[in-house]
């Protein structure tokens, strides 16, 4: 079982998201995250999908996706050089003065923006890889009592010049 990445070009039509997510649930495929958004061509959307599977199931998933009339292209990002980021918001509440100072320090070290705060709360915005976001959440949840997490799922695009991930 391995983590895999797919980039899907699909018709920007009603029901396409339901079709794709329904394929995963109907066939009991693992689906860790799915993001979708319109591309430079407003008739086309791109989905970035993260899943965990063995090699055979992954091959089958790609074929099943390709079979969908609404799917224009399936690109396997698992071993390609890509740029990939995930948007993460973390709200930390009930902070003491010391907590606030600590949070501003964390933000500086981890490359996180603090986009809003008051006397006892901080809102952080983090655009990082999924694993760096995971690390930040682990850190914050161990050090602070009340955190609220919203994650966007990753989006990815092929790189231009780098050849390694």
């Amino acid at each position: 079982m391995e983590k895999r990445w797919l980039s899907l070009f699909v018709e920007n039509d009603i029901g396409v998201l339901a079709k794709i997510s329904g394929l995963f649930s109907g066939k009991a495929y693992n689906l860790e995250s799915l993001t979708v958004g319109m591309t430079e061509d407003e008739t086309v959307s791109r989905m970035t999908i993260r899943l965990i599977s063995d090699d055979e199931t992954f091959e089958q998933i790609k074929k099943q996706l390709n079979r969908c009339v609404e799917v224009i292209k399936v690109v396997d990002f698992t071993d390609s050089p890509i740029h990939m980021k995930e948007l993460l918001f973390v709200k930390v509440r009930k902070c003491s003065k010391g907590d606030l100072d600590e949070l501003f320090r964390i933000a500086e070290v981890f490359g996180v923006s603090i986009i809003d705060y008051d006397k006892e709360s901080v809102l952080m915005e983090c655009v990082q890889t999924e694993s760096k976001n995971n690390a930040l959440i682990t850190l914050l949840s161990s050090d602070f009592q009340t955190i609220e997490v919203v994650r966007g799922g990753s989006v990815a695009i092929e790189s231009i010049s780098i050849t390694e991930r």
Binding site: V10, E11, I14, G15, A18, K19, G22, L23, G26, E56, E59, Q60, K63, Q64, N66, R67, C68, V69, E70, V71, I72
Partner: protein, 575 residues
């Protein structure tokens, strides 16, 4: 460019697609379309009595003619009733265009009267589904629907038609070309890969062809026969592949799978090369995967890339249309030395030929044998259950005989309506429906359709007063705990009845009386000697359907049988 209503464009589309028969059930959301159909003479509109049966009728029509079957129903319950029919067609790759009425676009989401999200409901059981949101897309969507349904691996396509779109004025243009960027079915065969497969074939000692429904769908029966005769390599078929080669052909060994023949199942188990074409290796074919073709290299030709290496790992995958692939193969294959292997196969066949254990009195086999002796040019349609398996075991098929059956879904209630659809598409052919007392009841109302359309279909109804296939499983694996399988059961029966008691009515319902109530003919046959006369009488009834009810023993079993999860070679051969 003339401005016409959506309904007019729909009828124009049907005409341009060459549709001669439409299966339609009206309702509030499609009255405008039915009014349009009222004003034309090219398309015959058939009124079934239930939308599930309606789809099966279109399915039987499509399978038997090779054309796209067209369904038209209203929204809500009409559309929802199509679900089983659509799933049945999807699993057996039958080209259908299913049109459903929908509430006006402005009402969608309001839980309006007879609003159902049928595109959502059928998303995982049809090849493609789409709602027409804009009158200007209607022509393109209909064109694409027919194209998607019949190309590549065929299948049902659903088009949902909101009421406002159908009355709106718009272009009268029906496109003559399609260009769908996400759908480019390829049928061309990769010759390099094919040569590799043929090399493997030439070096194998114990090769076998495993043929699935794809060969029948591609119309490659003649090519397959040529291939077999050229190579002298024996053939087995799946249930859906039966008839792809004459069943009396000396190189034909029968069906594989749960109720396959001993020789066929052993051949697949012991072969060193399994050359498969147009099958998706369903669990009913493979049984225990790890023991399936355990010593063999596997070549798999299929039009659907997703069918390859889904259930069975293959050594040489080839994505292609069966006909193109077999035709190409004919250029490269040689006669094969299969002397010892053939001897082995024939000895297996001799050791355990397909037969029916009980040979007393009236049996399904005797009725099917009568069909074999008297019909050389017919379409036989089965329902689902024991009678289906007996038909698939014993019915002889040649190039002029066709068998239609619900393979993937195993839908009870399929047989009778599908037979009506087959008759509507093949007026001059004898159409025989083989059904059971369980399956027949699941769409019995279609007797009204058959009588109304004056369809002389012969229905051989094997009545064992049981849901026989389940009863068989209970006999073999559940210590004869006959739970919920008796169709004669009454409230007054003992709760755990083991079989017959004197209290039982002789049958339930009285199918002969029921046939007559619908205006059809009914004949009851209880002894072997009456079979011939009953068929003769049925053949004389050319104005409508005849039910011949054969009262058979409920203890008759379908054998061999492989229990689910067991290897193919562990067959129960007798009981």
């Amino acid at each position: 460019m003339q401005q016409i209503r959506g309904t007019s464009l729909l009828v124009k589309a049907l005409q341009e697609e060459g549709v001669d028969t439409l299966f339609g059930y009206p309702g509030g959301l499609v009255t405008d379309i039915f009014d349009e159909l009222y004003h034309q003479d090219d398309i015959k509109v058939v009124l079934p009595r239930h939308e599930q049966a309606l789809v099966h009728e279109a399915d039987g029509y499509a399978r038997s003619t090779g054309k796209v079957g067209v369904c038209l129903v209203t929204g809500g319950p009409g559309a929802a009733n199509m679900v089983t029919g659509i799933a049945t067609a999807y699993y057996d790759s039958v080209p259908l265009v299913c049109l459903s009425g929908q509430v006006a676009s402005s009402l969608i989401g309001d839980d309006a009267f007879q609003e159902a999200d049928i595109v959502g409901i059928t998303r995982n059981i049809c090849k493609h589904g789409v709602i027409v949101n804009d009158r200007k897309n209607l022509g393109r969507i209909l064109k694409e629907a027919f194209y998607i349904a019949r190309t590549g691996k065929p299948g049902p396509v659903l088009v949902d038609l909101p009421k406002n779109v159908m009355v709106e004025l718009g272009s009268d243009e029906y496109p003559d070309k399609v260009n769908i960027r996400g759908y480019k079915p390829s049928t061309k065969v990769h010759i390099g890969q094919l040569k590799k497969a043929v090399d493997l074939l030439n070096t194998s000692q114990k090769p076998i062809f495993l043929i699935g429904g794809g060969v029948n769908i591609a119309g490659a029966q003649a090519e397959l026969t040529k291939l077999v005769e050229l190579t002298k390599i024996p053939v087995v078929t799946t249930m859906m592949g039966k008839g792809s080669i004459d069943t009396k052909h000396p190189y034909y060994l029968g069906n594989v799978g749960m109720h396959g023949s001993y020789a066929a199942n052993m051949a697949v188990t012991e072969c060193d090369l399994l050359f498969s074409i147009g099958t998706r290796f369903s669990d009913r074919v493979t049984s225990k995967i790890s023991e399936f073709a355990r010593n063999a290299k596997i070549v798999h030709i299929d039009i659907d890339s997703a069918a390859i290496s889904k259930n069975i790992k293959v050594d040489i995958p080839i994505v292609a249309d069966a006909k193109e692939a077999i035709t190409a193969m004919l250029n490269y294959v040689n006669e094969h030395e299969t002397g010892e292997w053939l001897k082995q196969l024939l000895s297996w066949q001799g050791a355990h030929p397909l037969t029916m254990q009980s040979n007393n009195g009236l049996t399904a086999k005797k009725v099917i044998d009568h069909i074999n002796e008297t019909c050389q040019d017919a379409i036989v349609v089965t329902d689902v259950g024991q009678h289906q398996m007996w038909t698939i075991q014993f019915l002889e098929l040649n190039r002029n005989m066709q068998l239609l059956t619900s393979g993937g879904m195993g839908t009870m209630g399929y047989g009778f309506p599908a037979a009506l659809g087959a008759k509507l598409g093949n007026e001059h052919k004898t159409v025989i429906c083989i059904s059971g007392d369980g399956g027949m009841q699941m769409n019995i109302q279609e007797l009204a359709t058959a009588v109304a359309e004056e369809l002389p279909v012969i229905i051989c109804l094997f009545n064992n007063s049981s849901l026989g296939m389940v009863r068989q499983v209970q006999t073999l694996f559940f210590e004869k705990n006959y739970s919920s399988i008796c169709t004669r059961r009454r409230k007054s029966c003992p709760r755990k009845c083991s079989g017959t008691s004197d209290q039982c009515p002789p049958y339930s319902p009285d199918f002969v009386a029921l046939a007559k109530a619908y205006g059809a003919e009914g004949i009851r046959v209880t002894t072997e000697g009456e079979i011939g006369a009953a068929f003769d009488q049925a053949l004389k009834n050319t104005d409508g359907p005849t039910i011949i009810e054969f009262i058979i023993d409920k203890d008759d079993l379908v054998l061999p049988m492989v229990q689910g999860g067991k290897p193919l070679y562990e067959m129960i051969l007798e009981y």
